[in-house]
């Protein structure tokens, strides 16, 4: 494992190598060479299983961190590849030619975070959200409660209650709210 990581440092300038547990390591790589690194890991290092692709929104830093989780069945080892991209120009190289399910993840990331993957098939087709016209909902600034109230209006019984106060007023009005 150390040999591989040293080679990746040398050839791909990977950084922030962190051993999370004996079976899992994470590292960071530049956006421009990420696709080449992932291809190399798949073809030469037998990290043949793509567990998933996901994204973390670091709104405070103005970046999205894309996470490509790859697994090596021979070594029982998982590598998490972190790639930072700008929130303002959210675009990343597509890896749909490497795994059959990759384009589905990319389509979901386009819908949920607004990240573009040029060349990825059916990228602009709706995934979960048919006719969605708001900002991508998994972005941190999207407020689900506000959206829900504006879109669906107020619904009786859906207010947030402080349990103690609610019980005092509604359930035990004659007992001053204390369970005895």
């Amino acid at each position: 494992m150390n040999t591989l990581l040293e080679r990746l440092q040398r050839d791909f300038s990977v950084s922030e190598i962190t051993v999370r547990k004996p079976t899992m390591t994470t590292l960071k790589v530049d956006r421009d060479i990420a696709e080449r690194l992932i291809r190399e890991l798949r073809d030469r290092e037998t990290y043949t299983h793509l567990n998933f692709i996901t994204c973390i929104d670091y709104i405070e830093d103005g970046i999205f961190t894309l996470v490509y989780m790859l697994h090596n069945y021979e070594l029982n080892h998982t590598l998490g590849i972190h790639v930072d991209i700008s929130r303002d120009q959210a675009e990343m190289t597509s890896i749909h030619t490497l795994w059959a399910q990759a384009w589905t993840y990319q389509r979901e990331l386009r819908e949920m975070y607004g990240i573009r993957f040029p060349g990825s098939p059916r990228l602009d087709e709706d995934f979960c959200l048919e006719g969605w016209d708001q900002i991508p909902p998994m972005r941190r600034e999207f407020d689900t409660k506000k959206f829900s109230e504006e879109r669906f209006g107020h619904r009786e019984g859906r207010d947030n209650e402080v349990p103690r106060e609610h019980m005092k007023v509604e359930l035990y009005p004659n007992r001053g709210g204390d369970e005895k």
């Binding site: 999370r20 749909h96 795994w99 059959a100 689900t144």
Partner: protein
Amino acid sequence: MKQSTNSIRTGSASIGHASALDFAQPEPLDMASGKYVKLWQGPQHPGITGNMSLELVLEGDTIIDCKTHVGYLHRGFEKLMERRTFIQNFTVVCRIAVPEPTFNEYLYSHAVEEISGIEIPERAIWLRTLNLELMRLASFLMWIGGMSGAFGQYTVPNWTLAYRDFVLDLFEEMTGARIYHMYIVPGGVRAGLPDGFRKRARDVMDGAEKLLDQVERVMFNNAVFKARSKGLGIISPDMIDPYGIVGPNARACGVSRDLRKDEPYLAYDQLDFDVITGSDSDAYERAYLRLQETRQCISLIRQCLDHTPGDGAFQADMPNVLHWKVPAGETYVKAECTRGEYGYYMVTDGSEFVRRVHVRGPSYTHAIAVMERLAVGNNIADIAGLMVSLHTYPPEIER
């Protein structure tokens, strides 16, 4: 009734996929030519749990294009979890895969424990293992019914779904709930076993074993079921990694991968079992392999009942969960559910809220990339059986 080819040609347009490693999308069809009919199948399917649609293009009664549509059950679980405290989330996660909530409970709890450095007691380890295997049995019983029903046999679903209720009775005794148990919580489990539970559970296992013998006779020896399911939706070994195929769908074509053996968790390294594999991953082989795994599951439950300690702590010492801040960290934990690798990726930032949770369900690839490829070339009558044979749960796709 069936056509086993996965790549067919109409006119000059090549559709389908030339090889397992060719992920190219099919060329657009001339729908105005009058040669094709577009048909929506779904979103209600008796054989799968949840809703999804298949947009099929037919030439005659042969499927020449298939697109999976999801979104009917999107409730935004991953987003919801970012706005709730760590202890609040365990009531949310169980709803992500309706027939198998406990895998979500376990993986969420395990991820939080791993990042927090919490060790759970021995008794909780065994109780969790027992809980997960009971869940596997209930899920497989439900699936067998769906598979049989998809091929027009309605006796078996009545048997297996009725018997599943006896397993749900056990869950009710053990956890207080039949479907969403919320039994596995960060730090351990919520309770030990009630008095007399082990005997009642063993009685249910004895009955389940007899039931499976009857299912094998009625379903797997049925000439119609054999004729329609053999050769349907063949998954070849060279598709496994490129398509991310896991669990029984992969094992049915001879790939011996099972997280319970490969990366043992909970008490699986102390249980006696082998990884069951098949040879041709068609719908029949996948179904038969799951029947064998259901039998194996009964054996595992019996072993858990023998080994689970009767006393001792079932919860680790925990901080005040109402003001619980989990240290900054990142992990990916996984378990072998009935359909293969189920995983939780979690990132924390030291606050009382999780920064990001990504739920990896096996249906994500089985129901979309794999389904879209395998459907092409098959007869419309077989599409329901093919879909159920992949064992997918749409809610875990949408999260």
